[in-house]
Amino acid sequence: MSDIAQARTGAFVRRELVAASLPPLTERGLVGWAREHLVAGSFNITMTILSLLLIALVLPPLVRFLFVDAAWTGDREACVIANGACWPFVKAKFGQFIYGFYPIAERWRPNLVFALGALLLAPLLILPAPFKRLNAVIFFGIFPIVAFVLLTGGNFSLHQFIIGRIVPFAYFVGPAEFLGLSASFWLDYVISSAVIVSVVGAMTRLLGGNARAVARVAFLLSLLLGLVIAACDFDFGLVPVETSAWGGLLVTLVVAVTGIVVSLPLGILLALGRRSELPAVKAFSVIFIEFWRGVPLITVLFFATYMLPLFLPGGLTINGLLRALIGVALFAAAYMAEVVRGGLQAIPKGQYEGAAALGLSYWQTMGHVVLPQALTLVIPGIVNTFIGLFKDTTLVLIVAIFDLLGQLRAAFTDPNWATPTTLFTGFAFGAVVYFIFCFSMSRYSMFVERWLSAGKRQ
């Protein structure tokens, strides 16, 4: 019918829409993009020219210094001639930058620790990977002890625990040792923990509590502590390496990882304490957190180095690295507490009320309901605190512990490598190492943030 109509009148009716014509050339593609982002208006053009000038001023000399003019092989002479980065310097000092003065024959130990750490950390960071809980227990609980024994060599000869300070067990059993475990110490340990377990159990009974359960917990704790001490005391046949020989990236990582592992649980406890209804607990947490957050880290390190030894019994000396570690851990814990508190505050009241309605106790509420949600919320904040901690580890060089930056500075003074470019090469190398660690951490935190908010986006 319509065909006939069309044929009769000769009219034309379009069946399809005309394809939209492209925007003008000046509005699309590279040209359009450039018109909008590079040359829109006189101010924009000026900015573009200034930026190009800046890039021209910085980039070519940098590339020339780092790659084109650089000396890649040879010795000091080659570097003096090259007039660019002195990479042989980095190559020659590489061991020192990574391990400090850790004995060369024993460097497989830090290497093994690095490898184990990476192997355990990777599945912890890959979000869909299974066995997260087990993985976390191994990484935060067992790995530090293994690393400690591997790096120091273990085999600490311990002499007395608690009762041994009063009763000289060594007098009865003599200096007998079995695979590095001294008989007198372990006799002391077993008797002391048995006494503690029974005292705790008896006191609970006196107050009318469940003595058996409490005693069981106390027994398990002392067993765990015993295992940890045994691992450190056991003679694995490793050559002991003093911490003063440690250095470079090894120390940087040891300080950072210890700070991270210790500060997270401590920070969670402090954050819970700050929101506690018990006035003494709350006051203690607030004062602790605000005090450490109000002072610079360097004063904390000085506190640990010069003041802490005065507070301990005369004969007791603490290892210099351990002192710094204590300072860094306490400092980081205060910052971590504030991050965790932010997460706790974001949990709606209904969650607490729901848990209370189910009859959950305080620790059950926190452990099963509140903390899992709160900690997930603040993962980016936690990672940012870790980045800050990682960067702050450089400060230990002020209290004479030579981390990566300390080793760099020491290497600059080596007359065998005194060239006009040594300094810049060293800084370039250090910058790359620090940047890789911090940048990957920050990217990871951004990734987790996006992943977590995926459900909230439309």
């Binding site: 190009l52 002072v295 003041m307 940047f435």
Partner: protein, 395 residues
């Protein structure tokens, strides 16, 4: 029919399950632990100090220090006391932190705005800068500025000259020294008068705008008053303040004020580092302002500049100020890293040199921590006050 539930026989409940008893018990344990630890520390410290024959107390503050200081804002010599060195160090810390805060804020705001620029190149450059600077340790950057940049500059003879007015070399920056003659007090009075007049003009302009709607160019007028008035007096009085230009005599500059390279390195590192963080805060603050606000301002006919100043920035400031405060505090605390390059700040002079000489570890470190705590608390109180003023008034 009402069924009365049979009452369960009351169990003999433990004292430990009574929440009141529990809370008292937990707090008592904590208290005993803290007090015990404190007592243990104090007892040990007393015994250790007695064994080392170190006298306690703050008497050492009145003892002659006997060391020189490379930069002092108040008169100081080797015969001055440790107490004086304390003040000198504190002033140096305040100087470097104050200047650092000003530079970091200006640079950080510029960077933050640049990161949001429509110009792709500028935005990218700002992004790369922020990423690089934020992911390198501050101490690393201080060392870089000190060892790699400032120490490798030419000697005074080959100084870089800024139009013959200032010179920079490996011994620092030399700037013209003002020589103050008689009558210069009047210039100060003129300056104060200019400030007072500018404030009056501002109030008058606001009053007039509220009544008539006419806008008065307050900013330009205030600038003219504050700068112009002292300049006018200066010219009328026949230039009583002269600037003595730095002059090279022999191997070094004889005249002019020399600014230490340690100070420059610390100031540069602190301001460029903190600026990276401030840039991110500013960017987040501006992004937090709803796009509708900008669009509404445009539809009212406000040009982009005024929109930014009158609509976006005041709202963004509410988001910016709390984290900005903590950056200022960080900068002040970070200035203690001066000890690594030998700038005589409070920490280096007091916890460094004075501690080495006197050995009064407990007093000195406690006092050092107290000073930084006081600075922190004071700054956060000040910023909280400002924050309350710009905070949203909810009606």
């Amino acid at each position: 029919m009402v069924v009365i539930a049979e009452r369960a026989p009351r169990e003999r409940s433990s004292l430990l399950t009574d929440p009141r008893v529990r809370s008292i018990l937990i707090q008592a344990v904590l208290l005993v632990f803290v007090v015990g630890l404190g007592w243990y520390f104090v007892e040990n410290a007393r015994a250790n100090l007695a064994a080392q024959r170190i006298a306690t107390g703050f008497g050492f503050l009145n003892v002659t220090a006997g060391f020189g200081v490379s930069q002092a804002l108040i008169p100081y010599s080797e015969t001055s006391t440790y107490g004086r060195a304390f003040v000198v160090g504190l002033l140096n810390t305040l100087l470097v932190s104050g200047l650092g805060i000003v530079f970091a804020t200006v640079f950080g705001f510029l960077l933050g705005i640049a990161r949001l620029s429509k110009n792709w190149l500028i935005a990218k450059i700002a992004e790369v800068y922020v990423e690089v600077i934020r992911n390198l340790p501050l101490l690393f950057q201080i060392m870089f500025w000190y060892l790699a940049v400032l120490a490798t500059l030419p000697t005074p003879r080959g100084s870089f000259s800024f139009f013959g007015l200032a010179f920079v070399n490996n011994r620092g920056l030399v700037v013209p020294e003002p020589v103050i003659n008689e009558g210069s007090g009047t210039i100060g009075i003129a300056f104060l008068a200019g400030v007072v007049l500018a404030v009056i003009v501002r109030y008058w302009a606001r009053w007039r705008q509220l009544r008539t709607g006419q806008i008065f160019p307050t900013g330009r007028t205030a600038l003219t008053l504050i700068l112009g008035l002292p300049l006018l007096v200066y010219l009328i009085l026949g230039a009583p303040i002269r600037f003595e230009l730095p002059e090279l005599k022999g191997l070094n500059f004889a005249t002019g004020i020399r600014i230490l390279p340690e100070f420059l390195a610390l100031l540069l590192a602190l301001s460029t580092y903190t600026a990276g963080f401030i840039a991110e805060i500013v960017r987040a603050g501006i992004l937090a302002v709803n796009k509708g606000q900008t669009e509404a301002a445009y539809s009212l006919g406000l040009p982009p500049g005024l929109t930014l100043r009158l609509v976006v920035v005041p709202q963004a400031l509410r988001v910016i100020i709390p984290p900005l405060t903590s950056q200022y505090l960080n900068l002040t605390k970070n200035s203690s890293l001066a000890v690594a390059i030998g700038y005589p700040d409070f920490f280096a002079l007091f916890a460094g040199t004075t501690l080495n000489q006197t050995g009064q570890a407990i007093e000195i470190i406690a006092l050092t921590m107290a000073v930084y705590l006081a600075i922190s608390l004071f700054t956060s109180a000040l910023m909280n006050f400002y924050n309350r003023r710009v905070a949203l008034v909810e009606r």
